[in-house]
Structures are given as C-alpha cells and as structure tokens.
C-alpha cells in the first residue's frame, strides 16, 4: 500500500520549497505557457538552445508541490544535454508516469526525477508531474531541435 510519505518524498518537498531555475531568464530561444485546465496550475518556461544543445531552462509557475517540484527537477536535469538526450529523458519519465507504479525509472537516466515514480499510482496527479515536462517538449519542438 502506497502511503502519503512515499508520495511526498523529502526530495519533492525540498524542490517545492527551494525550486531550481525558477524565475524566467530575460532572453530565450523559445517561451511557452502551459496550463493544466483541470486544476488551473500554470507554468511559463523559457528555453535557451545553442545548436542542438540545451543551454538553460528557466521557468515560473503556480501549482501544487508535484507540478512545481517536477519542473524544478527537470530544469536541472536537462541543462547541458543535447536535444535528443533530453527527449529520451522526457519519454522515459512519461513511461514511468504511465506505468501505474510498475516502473520505478532508471536513476542513471532520470536522476532525481525517479522520486516521482509514486505519482504514477495516482492517475489524477500524473498531469501535475508532467506539466513542466510537456511544456519543455513543446518548447523543443518550437525551437526546432526535435521533430
């Protein structure tokens, strides 16, 4: 039985309290705004790329601990990665979220993001965890670094 403690891991609440890369960079290659219409949570995300490389992801937003912390973890995880690597990470995270608790995620690929594996047992929260990740994917498409 999953309990609240395993869902709200310390790492998640730490990122919620002290988010990384929060505050939008003044310049960007692409800016996107994503909303979770079922709860009203919002994220603005600025992506800076150099060629195929992600230079930085900065963001701002309002939302629950899961959405805010997962965007924070993401922004740190993809910094300096190539676009195909970042896409592989996003897809791996999406697979974990769709797994209903059966896929804990590869820590070598997903780093701190494996802390969100427990979210996949709560269907109503998966969109929270994916809010920033779908925003980044959209930004990468708009920046034409992925197809």
């Amino acid at each position: 039985m999953v309990n609240l403690e395993s869902l709200y891991q310390e790492l998640i609440l730490d990122h919620y309290k002290n988010p990384l890369n929060k505050g939008l960079a003044s310049d960007s290659s692409v800016s996107v705004h994503h909303v979770n219409p079922s709860c009203g949570d919002e994220v603005d995300l600025n992506l800076i790329v150099a060629g195929q490389q992600i230079v930085s992801v900065t963001w701002d937003g309002v939302g629950c601990s899961i959405s805010q912390a997962s965007t924070s973890v993401l922004s740190d995880l993809v910094r300096g990665k190539s676009a195909p690597e970042a896409l592989r990470i996003i897809e791996a995270f999406s697979e974990v979220m769709a797994s209903k608790g059966s896929n804990g995620g590869d820590p070598d690929l997903l780093g701190d993001a494996v802390a969100f594996a427990g979210v996949s047992r709560y269907p109503a929260r998966i969109k929270c965890a994916l809010l920033g990740w779908m925003a980044l994917k959209d930004a990468m498409v708009q920046a034409k670094v992925i197809g």
Binding site: M1, L13, D41, C64
Partner: protein
C-alpha cells in the same frame, strides 16, 4: 428537526465502501455529484430489466409502460418544482445542455419576437457563475451582438448588488444567475433581482444545480422564467438534466435539436414542430435516466425537502464554527450561515489545494480541489483553486469532525516537512 443520518446512509450502497488503507469512505463531494440510493439504482435497472421500449412510439404493451414511466417522471419533476403545467418540463442530458438549449434557441428566435436579441441589448450574469452558466451566454452575446455584463462578487463570495440599477437596465433582455454558488455556497437573494429584471422586461434564467437538490424550490413562487438543473446532483442518475420554462416563452422559442419525435408533419422540404415539451426532445430520450430521476424525486420527498434543508443548515452552522477556528485556514465564502448552503471552499496557508485533497484522500475523505469550473471567480480572489467540501442529507455532524481532524493532520503532515 434532524434527520436519521445513519438510516439514510444505509440507503446509499456506495457510502459503505472502504477506500485507501481500508478506511471507511467519507464522501464530501456531493456538489460535484451526489451518491444514489438503492431505489434510484433499482428504478434505472428495472427499466431495462422489465420496461425497456421506445417511448411515444411502439404499438405494444411494453412501449405503453415505458411511456408511463417517462411521462410519470416528468409529472413528478413538475410537481416537485411547482410548475404550472407538466408541459413546461423538458428532459435534457444535463443542466449544461439545458442552458445551451436555451441560449441557442434564444439566439434563433424570430427577429421581432419578445425573446430575440440584437446589438445594443445586454445579457447579465455574475462572477459567481459556473462555466455552464457563463460560456453559453458569452457565445450568445457574440452571435447576436448583445453585450455581456456581470455582477461582481463580494469579498465573502456573495453577489455584489450595489450597482443593480446600472447592471440591469432597459437594454437588458436576459438575467442568468446561479441560485447557489457551487464554490462559496452563497444563495442568491432573488427577490430584488427579479423585481429589477421584471421592471426592465428581462427574462430570468436560474441555474438551480446547487439549490433544487438541497432546499424547496417553487418556480411559481419565485416568479422566474427558466430553471435549469441536473439529475445527478439530486440523488438521481447521470445523463439526465432538466429545463423548466414558462409555457408561453417555450412556445415562442424555436427547437434546438431536430429529428424524430419532435414533429407534427414532415415533407421533403419542410417540417412543423410538436407542441412543448416534445419539440425540444428530438430523438429517443434517456428513458432509464428519467425512471431513475422519478425515483430520486420520490426519495427526496419521502425525506422532505424542508427536513433536508434544516439538516444542512445545522451542518452549516456547525462546520462554519469548526472550520473558522482552524489556524491557517481561509474560508472562501460567507462566514455566517444565513443564505448559504453546506458548501465549504477553503485554502490552507502554504499548502496547495491539490496537495490538501491528496492528503485528505489518504485519510478516506473525498473532496474536490481546483477551480470548480468557476475560473473567473478564482482569478477575482487571486487564487488558482480551493479545496471544497460539500455536504448532503447523508452527512452528519461527525463527518464535520472527521473533516476538521483530516485538515489538522494535513497541516501537521506538511508543516512537519517544512511547508
């Protein structure tokens, strides 16, 4: 007068369910949808088991039975809301469809009809509206060139009527308001609004989704023109809603959906339409839903709407006192029990509503979180959402205590982790 809640709870099979960690369910989400008593569930399944046939059509016994059940449900609803005639009650699939039907038909009224709209006319709503009683009017305004106006909400989530003379004026053709806010619980003081609407000749539309299930509503005593509500919030089935309208106005409106069973004659190039309510009920209707809804009305009347209202009033007084004692809790809605229902929206300092809902769910308490389909109201209050607990006839004072304890445990869980 108090209800025997333990006995009522036994009528609702789902309320005996165990949820997370094998805890007994505490259902506080009746504002979204109510649970169903066994009599409603059986009425719907019995329709399919014994009486399923297309109403108003077949030349056989089963079709007669189906028609009797369907029209019997209409008569029960008409009596329940004090309609002058059974023909004033139209079955739809939801309250949302009821309001859309009305808004669409008003927009299609013939140009010199008393209900038609033109540029320069205005439609009045409020900031408290559910999206279902806002967006159809926004769209009608766009289609007709009419303007949309609205009453603002006060700080405690009631209608701010100070500018009533300016907001409802001689240009106003439609006044469409919620009877009770699904977010703040505030009950709209209809009498002064209806007086003003009548003085300028506007028609009045009331969204009764949160009122008809909870207290006696009599359309003739209220003196309104249209009333929309849903079956599933009044212990009835999903997939069935109601639109009541004054017969003279319904007769003035063109149909919304066209097709079978809404006609008097059809040629290859034209058709004439059946009298109300049939002209608004194209296609084979939700007959089993009507059967279930008829049983829902019987059930509510067996308890008594006055008794339900009084019960919810005691719950409201108790919950308001308990909730407002909680440090770090901000109530979004009136703090006093007069003219408000048992709907409690709140925020907790430092904890997002979705996280509050998750922590309550972990304790077996089902609440709603988010904007409650009232996004403009959230923006007005400068918040993204609230946690909302809604009570009904099957909730007790002990349920309030369990909610309060759950909130306390939620606060302790998150504050002990630094939030």
């Amino acid at each position: 007068m108090s209800l025997d809640v333990a006995k009522i709870k036994r009528d609702f099979p789902l309320l005996s369910r165990k949820v997370r960690h094998d805890l007994p369910l505490l259902y506080l989400d009746s504002g979204a949808t109510s649970q169903k008593p066994i009599k409603v569930i059986e009425a719907e399944s019995d329709f399919y088991r014994f009486h399923n046939s297309a109403v108003h059509r077949g030349a056989h016994l089963i079709a007669e039975e189906a028609t009797d059940i369907y029209e019997g449900a209409r008569a029960k609803i008409a009596h329940f809301i004090g309609a002058e005639s059974v023909d004033e009650v139209i079955f739809t699939k939801s309250a949302t469809e009821s309001i859309n039907l009305l808004a669409y038909s008003l927009g299609q009224a013939r140009p010199n009809s008393p209900v038609s709209l033109k540029p320069g006319d205005s439609i009045v709503v409020s900031e408290l509206e559910h999206h279902a009683n806002l967006i159809p009017w926004q769209e009608l305004a766009k289609r007709t060139g009419a303007s949309l106006r609205w009453f603002p909400a006060t700080e405690d989530g009631r209608l701010d009527l100070r500018e009533i003379e300016q907001i409802i004026d001689s240009s106003t053709k439609i006044v469409a308001l919620t009877h009770q806010s699904n977010v703040t619980g505030a009950i709209t003081p209809l009498s002064s609004l209806l007086d003003r609407a009548k003085a300028v000749g506007a028609i009045t539309v009331i969204d009764a989704c949160q009122s008809v299930p909870h207290f006696p509503v009599d359309v003739q005593k209220l003196g309104i023109d249209f009333l929309a509500f849903s079956g599933h919030k009044m212990v009835g089935p999903t997939g069935i809603g109601l639109l009541w309208g004054r017969k003279s106005l319904l007769e003035e409106l063109p149909p919304f959906l066209f097709g079978g069973s809404m006609v008097t004659s059809v040629s290859m190039s034209d058709a004439t339409f059946a009298p109300v309510p049939r002209k608004f009920e194209a296609g084979v209707p939700n007959m089993a839903g009507a059967a279930g809804l008829g049983a829902a009305v019987d059930y509510l009347q067996s308890i008594g709407m006055d008794a339900i209202h009084n019960h919810e009033l005691s719950l409201t007084e108790y919950a308001l006192a308990k909730l407002q004692e909680i440090e770090g809790l901000t109530l979004i809605g009136p703090g006093e029990s007069s003219d408000r229902g048992a709907v409690f929206s709140f925020t907790l300092d430092g904890i997002h509503p979705h996280d509050v809902g998750q922590a309550l769910d972990d304790r077996g308490i089902a609440v709603r979180t988010g904007h409650h389909c009232a996004w403009p109201l959230m923006k007005k209050f400068g918040i993204t959402g609230t946690t909302r607990a809604t009570f009904y006839l099957y909730n007790s004072l002990e349920d309030v205590d369990r909610l309060v304890e759950g909130i306390d445990e939620t606060q302790r869980f998150f504050t002990s982790r630094g939030l």
